[in-house]
Amino acid sequence: MALHIVNRSPYRSSALRDCLNTMAEGDALLLIEDGVYAASASAQAGAMPAGTYCLGADADARGVSVSDAIARIDDARWVALCVEHTPVVSWF
């Protein structure tokens, strides 16, 4: 199963949409940098698939309150997700 990493704002860039259109069943999705706006409880987080993660440091930086449906992770867990998945696909 693949790990997809998205670092662009869902409002500004097609990166998340392109990624979601490409993801296979069971793939994981990690939101980092401006990608974390898609994890916001007040935004469109409801549309995120199961197996969506969000980098806590990036959410904190932006004051984004992460939806309960999305797992907040730290950098160590980010590395672990890369170990657990293949390939790792970046969308920017």
Partner: protein
């Protein structure tokens, strides 16, 4: 597990450069091997010895050099991408008749073959792109 990273973003342009550094540190902190970081496209500016961010802003040069020292990580700057963008070693500056060199210690210029080699040698390759 053996990791390599590919970095397309310049330091101080957006967050991708800082993310790559954080991820690189986490890779070695978790006991994995970081085989090579390949700086490509605007990422070649990482190799500039001239960046001088103010004291209260993040230094994105020294931490890479320290990572290399402590963990024997290859820091490869793509030579073709670097020429276009003005990141030159002394020998390149001489060959290309440019007035100075600016490649930082710990970074080496290398060809795209080093990217192909990194993917062949590594269990995981993670790209850091965007602004």
């Amino acid at each position: 597990m053996k990791f390599s990273l590919v970095v397309y973003s310049a330091p101080h342009a957006g967050e991708a450069a800082a993310s790559a550094l954080r991820f690189a540190r986490a890779v070695v902190d978790q006991g994995h091997e970081l085989y090579r970081v390949f700086f490509y496209a605007d990422g070649v500016h990482h190799g500039s010895a001239l960046a001088a961010p103010p004291q209260d802003e993040q230094d994105l040069l020294t931490p890479w050099q320290e990572l290399r020292q402590a963990n024997d990580v290859d820091l490869v700057v793509c030579i073709a991408a670097a020429q276009r963008r003005g990141v030159l070693s002394h020998s390149e500056a001489e060959r290309l008749e440019r007035p100075a060199a600016n490649l930082a210690d710990g970074f080496e210029l290398g060809g795209l073959g080093q990217l192909a080699d990194a993917t062949a040698q590594s269990d995981r390759v993670v790209t850091f792109g965007g602004q």
